[in-house]
């Protein structure tokens, strides 16, 4: 049913989440849906992977041990190499204030957990389209 996962042209999504099942669900689903996926379990790893791989989209959990998602986003958005990469904040914080904080840090959009993987895919595609429109 699904398309072959490994295609050279497939967009690369970096999934950042300190919770293993969180990483697994979205990574597995997106690979299933044809994306290339890399993962990171904390902020520093996220920065390393981002600078190394220069992904097309980053799914960023905000509550992370050590360097948190907000800080990681700020750094990525202030770096020439990574500042154009769309970052989708993925958070279990449902309050508007949390969303505002994420936007302020530089996130392009915010998705609240729990999140149906299909809805997340839609958002990823929307961001990719927006980015290709900008460039």
């Amino acid at each position: 049913m699904s398309e072959p996962a490994e295609t050279p042209q497939a967009p690369l999504v970096l999934v950042v989440d300190d919770v293993a099942h969180g990483r697994e669900i979205f990574a597995e689903y997106l690979e299933f849906r044809g994306f290339r996926v890399a993962t990171a379990a904390d902020g520093l790893e996220a920065l390393d992977k981002a600078f190394e791989l220069l992904p097309d989209v980053i799914l960023m959990d905000l509550s992370l041990p050590g360097l948190d998602g907000w800080e990681a986003t700020k750094r990525l958005k202030s770096d020439e190499r990574t500042k154009t990469i769309p970052i989708i904040a993925l958070t279990a914080h449902a309050l508007a204030s949390a969303h505002d904080k994420a936007k302020a840090a530089g996130c392009d959009s915010v998705v609240t957990k729990p999140c149906i993987p299909r809805d997340l895919e839609t958002e990823v595609r929307r961001q990719l389209a927006a980015r290709s429109e900008r460039s």
């Binding site: 969180g22 669900i25 299933f32 279990a92 449902a94 309050l95 609240t112 957990k113 729990p114 149906i116």
Partner: protein, 704 residues
């Protein structure tokens, strides 16, 4: 004629010292011894150069005095006779011959003899006089000639002596006169008609004469004085009688002006010439004194006027003072009072009632006793409170009396001035003040108690509010945390379920798909419960942000209808819209209104098994209210349940609701949101017949 008779005449003449008696004695002797009946004795008056009658015998006194003959008339027979040495006979007019009859003598026209008196006269060739006797016989002629000789010698002797005496007396008297004149300090002058000074006393000389030894200044002053004096004499003497005028001269020694009063009297200085005697009185000091007196008098008049004005002012003050003012003498009698005092201490003319009299006397007694206290004391001031009676009304008048002693230069009491001040008002004010003060204190005490209580309550409330706030914050935080902690596992459940349903892990059997479907459905329900709870928590903690914007409700309803289209499709209900075109734009939070309308519409669709659902949009222009009504023909809500339907987790039919996927929080949230937007949600419903929920909103919230 006997020689004894002649001796007697000689003796008599020698005994006599005066001229006229000698002549009388001689004429009488001739009458007795020579038979002479009428005779006249005339003597030469050298001063006037005339022969005048001295005395007569048998003649009238007037005729003797009238006899006067100019000696210069040398051809006159009597003048000729005077110079003759022998008697000359003059025949009477009756004889018809001789010249005697033409002469005018006291002896008339009868014949007479003119016998010259003995001795030479002073004027030389003529004798001292003539003896005229009527005609006698020749026997007596010898006696007449002898008597004339003796009388002439005697008269000449007397005249000589007298002239010596007169000379001495004249000189003595002249010196006395000058002494007198000089003793008078006022300048006295005699001037002739030309204004030349004939006589001047020392005072006059000081002013009007100066010899060459005197200073130039003095000479000039004297010259000026002379000029001024002469001019004044000429102008004043024109009248003829005594005159009086003022003359300003210069003191030649001191140089200052001297004012004189000049009294001039014309006097005869010699025949045909009139001079002037002037007496000058120095009135410089007098004038100065007069001026000074006038000045003093003027000052006195002025001071008097001042004093009168001062007294008038004082009277005015006294009379215009509203408080009674009285002045008493040391005996305590009232000597002066102003009208207000008169009202208290005198009986009004119109009211002579015994009552009034008695009250006035009482007042007087009270006042006198008060004032006598001051006289008795050493102090100068005295203050007291008296109780007087208004004479007309009889009302008691409390007054404050302030008295002051008026002392003379010697420190004796001369008067006491007293001012009375009506205290009626003050006493009443004091009473009212005390009353107000008492009430005020009571009030203050009550306020203080109330305030203390209030403060206590406030403190309690504040503490409670603080606790509530803390509790609320804790609750919000708790809910947020719970939400987060629930979401994470729920995310795993929903995510994995989805992965399985999507076939990520391979194909599923039909029963597996069904069961996973239910799992997902329940997970979603759980998620909406969590979301609603979070909403409610935020509303209740006041942390729900409101974002106002212009909202076109027609558009909003259209959007909601689109969103519930899928839901409508799953029913067999008739859904209608009634949208008024009159509804204006409103100012509100679009997201929240949409949430409410969506909720109401969803509820209507969920709880209406059959029939219809309609949505209306209306506008009430007068109240500027917009209403969105959702009416259904559903199960309805009992009256009992209508009261609690808006409370959390209250669903009219729980089992039914659960079937429909409601959380039991929707209406609660809707009502709270409406309230945040200054609106409200009302409900009309009947069990089994349906419900109508209406959202009413203002065009603009009160606080923007």
């Amino acid at each position: 004629m006997g020689s004894r008779a002649r001796l007697a005449l000689v003796d008599a003449l020698l005994a006599e010292q005066e001229v006229r008696p000698c002549a009388v004695l001689t004429l009488r002797w001739l009458a007795r011894h020579a038979g002479v009946e009428r005779g006249l004795c005339a003597v030469v008056e050298s001063e006037t150069g005339r022969l005048v009658g001295l005395t007569g015998l048998g003649l009238s006194l007037a005729s003797v005095d009238a006899f006067s003959l100019d000696l210069n008339d040398r051809m006159h027979p009597l003048v000729v006779a005077l110079a003759a040495s022998e008697p000359v006979g003059f025949p009477g007019s009756g004889a018809g011959s001789g010249a005697g009859s033409g002469l005018d003598t006291p002896l008339g026209s009868d014949s007479f003899h003119a016998v010259p008196l003995g001795g030479p006269s002073e004027s030389g060739d003529i004798g001292p006089g003539l003896l005229l006797v009527d005609a006698v016989d020749s026997a007596a002629e010898e006696d007449i000639r002898w008597a004339a000789e003796v009388l002439g010698v005697r008269l000449q002797s007397l005249w000589f002596r007298r002239s010596q005496v007169d000379e001495r007396r004249y000189k003595r008297e002249q010196s006395w006169l000058f002494g007198i004149i000089n003793a008078v300090t006022d300048p006295i002058l005699l001037t002739d008609s030309e204004g030349r000074i004939l006589v001047a006393n020392a005072g006059a000389e000081m002013l009007l004469t100066a010899d060459d030894q005197k200073s130039e200044g003095r000479r000039r002053a004297v010259a000026l004085n002379n000029m001024l004096f002469s001019a004044s004499i000429f102008t004043s003497s024109s009248g003829g009688g005594p005159t009086r005028h003022e003359l300003l001269l210069v003191d030649p020694t001191e140089g200052q002006d001297l004012l004189f009063e000049v009294m001039s009297t014309p006097v005869k200085i010699r025949a045909g010439e009139t001079g002037t005697v002037s007496v000058l009185r120095n009135v410089t000091d007098l004038r100065r004194a007069t001026d000074e007196i006038e000045e003093q008098y003027r000052k006195l008049r002025f001071a008097e006027a001042e004093t009168r004005a001062e007294r008038d002012r004082l009277d005015l003050i006294l009379n215009s003072a509203l408080d009674p003012i009285l002045v008493t003498d040391p005996s305590g009698n009232i000597v002066l009072m102003n009208p207000p005092a008169e009202r208290m201490f005198t009986v009004a003319p119109g009211d002579r009632s015994a009552e009034a009299e008695r009250r006035v006397r009482a007042n007087d007694a009270v006042f006198t006793s008060f004032v006598s206290g001051l006289y008795a004391s050493q102090s100068l001031r005295w203050r007291g409170e008296l109780s007087l009676i208004e004479p007309r009304s009889g009302a008691t008048v409390p007054v404050e009396a302030i008295s002051g002693k008026v002392l003379s230069k010697h420190g004796e009491d001369t008067a006491v001035v007293t001012i009375l001040h009506d205290l009626t008002e003050a006493v009443e004010k004091q009473r009212l003040y005390e009353q107000v003060k008492r009430h005020s204190e009571e009030l203050r005490e009550k306020v203080r108690e109330a305030t203390a209580e209030l403060a206590e309550q406030n403190e309690l409330l504040r503490r409670q509010a603080f606790q509530l706030e803390q509790a609320s914050a804790a609750k919000s935080q708790f809910l947020a945390n719970v939400s987060h902690e629930l979401r994470t596992p729920l995310n795993a459940i929903i995510g994995y379920t989805h992965l399985l349903l999507e076939g990520v892990s391979g194909e599923l059997s039909r029963p597996q798909t069904e069961k996973l479907g239910r799992l997902e459905s329940n997970a979603r329900h759980l998620l909406s419960v969590i979301n609603d709870l979070l909403d409610l928590a935020r509303i209740e903690s006041g942390k729900m942000p409101v974002q106002l914007e212009r909202v076109v409700l027609q558009e909003l309803i259209h959007e909601v209808m689109t969103e519930v289209e899928a839901l409508i499709d799953g029913t067999r209900l008739t859904v209608t819209r009634h949208i008024s075109d009159e509804v204006p734009e409103i100012h509100t939070d679009r997201q929240k209104v949409k949430q409410i309308v969506l909720n109401l519409l969803s509820n209507a669709l969920k709880f209406t098994p059959q029939g219809s659902v309609s949505i209306r949009l209306d506008y009430e222009p007068e109240k500027e209210w917009i209403s969105v009504s959702v009416a259904d023909t559903g199960i309805g809500i009992s009256e009992e349940n209508q009261k609690t339907i808006f409370e959390a987790f209250q669903q009219a039919d729980s089992s039914y609701a659960r079937r429909q996927g409601g959380t039991g929080l929707g209406l609660t949230i809707c009502r709270r949101l409406a309230s945040i937007l200054d609106g409200q949600i009302t409900l009309i419903s009947r069990l089994g017949e349906g419900s109508t929920f209406t959202l009413v909103l203002p065009r603009q919230p009160r606080e923007t």
